[in-house]
């Protein structure tokens, strides 16, 4: 029994940190159903680092056209976080996206002291892995898309220590998803 227990203990410990196997595919699929705003994978999680780094893949479902064209430039939310102990409509930072002018545009999308601030970042392709980084540096949010020039937005006046809850994919804006929209995300801080 003693030998067996020792063997089990050693084997489990070695197994944990064995590196001969390739890293698992950590992409997680989020689906926003037709007529919905929120994605189906509901996760409650808080940010645990000064930066949020992730890869994202949009597929063909990111293309959509509203009959009321005025809504076409409504920003859909990709990923981000609320700032220290704030609700997300008070202080938050997220990447946002929209299908506009037949291309997939990525934006920095923040609430700063309850005022919305948006800045264009760049364009990405369908079915392509793109790398995103959102960092807190002092009193600014810094947005990186791949190797493009970073985009900076000033933070509101918030506390420093507390809960920074994660904000997951959300469609809209005002109108819900016109069809199922699928996004794959891999957080890799």
């Amino acid at each position: 029994m003693k030998i067996l227990t020792n063997f089990l203990a050693t084997a489990l410990t070695l197994l944990l940190f064995a590196s001969c196997e390739p890293e698992a595919d950590l992409f997680r699929q989020f689906v926003i159903r037709q007529g919905e705003h929120y994605s189906t994978t509901h996760i409650v999680q808080s940010l645990q680092s000064n930066s949020l780094k992730f890869d994202a893949i949009f597929d063909a479902s990111a293309r959509y056209h509203f009959t009321e064209e005025g809504f076409q430039d409504s920003k859909n939310k990709l990923l981000g976080f609320s700032d220290c102990n704030s609700l997300h409509h008070e202080n938050s930072a997220r990447f946002a996206w929209q299908w506009f002018n037949d291309r997939l545009e990525i934006y920095a999308y923040c609430y700063v002291n309850s005022q919305r601030v948006e800045k264009f970042i760049g364009v990405v392709n369908i079915d392509e892995v793109n790398h995103y980084e959102l960092s807190i540096k002092g009193d600014h949010y810094i947005f990186h898309l791949n190797h493009q020039e970073p985009v900076s937005i000033e933070r509101g006046s918030v506390c420093q220590t507390g809960v920074y809850y994660m904000l997951w994919p959300y469609f809209g804006g005002t109108l819900p998803a016109p069809h199922n929209v699928t996004i794959q995300l891999n957080i890799n801080n």
């Binding site: 029994m1 227990t5 944990l16 940190f17 645990q48 680092s49 420093q160 920074y164």
Partner: protein, 142 residues
């Protein structure tokens, strides 16, 4: 008032039957990288426990220090199932990451007692929305 006394009495009874200070050192593989940890727990005979922990990732010196996402706080544990040598324990760690981000990390541990005073534990938890795996050595001091 009577209820408070009953609760206090229950807590004191639990503390009175406690017999172990358990120290551990180990590592956790998280989606954000490997972290190395140490903890001190006050543990009852029935494996209920509370204590403190510290863990951090290590990075090459880039001028900003060696530590990556240090995480410290308090840990609470509750027994799920026990035998003489193997036990299953639920652990809840609550603390601060980088001294500013409040984090709550639930995990499950399997402990294997190798000697009466020492053993190993492996566990699975949830960090940053992804599963994490951990392994540690523990020693019962007294």
């Amino acid at each position: 008032m009577k209820k408070i006394f009953v609760i206090l009495f229950s807590i004191l009874s639990t503390l009175a039957s406690a017999q172990d200070i358990v120290m551990s050192a180990g590592a956790e593989k998280t989606v954000t990288g490997n972290q190395y940890s140490g903890s001190v727990m006050y543990e009852t005979k029935k494996s209920w426990g509370a204590g403190a922990f510290y863990q951090t990732g290590l990075t090459p010196d880039n001028g900003e220090g060696y530590l990556k996402n240090p995480f410290y706080g308090i840990a609470l544990q509750a027994p799920i199932a026990r035998s003489q040598r193997i036990s299953f324990i639920g652990v809840l760690r609550t603390g601060l990451v980088n001294e500013k981000f409040l984090a709550v990390v639930p995990s499950l541990e399997t402990r294997i007692q190798i000697t009466p005073k020492a053993g190993v534990a492996v566990g699975a938890g949830l960090r940053s929305g992804y599963p994490s795996l951990s392994a540690k050595l523990f020693v019962r001091l007294f």
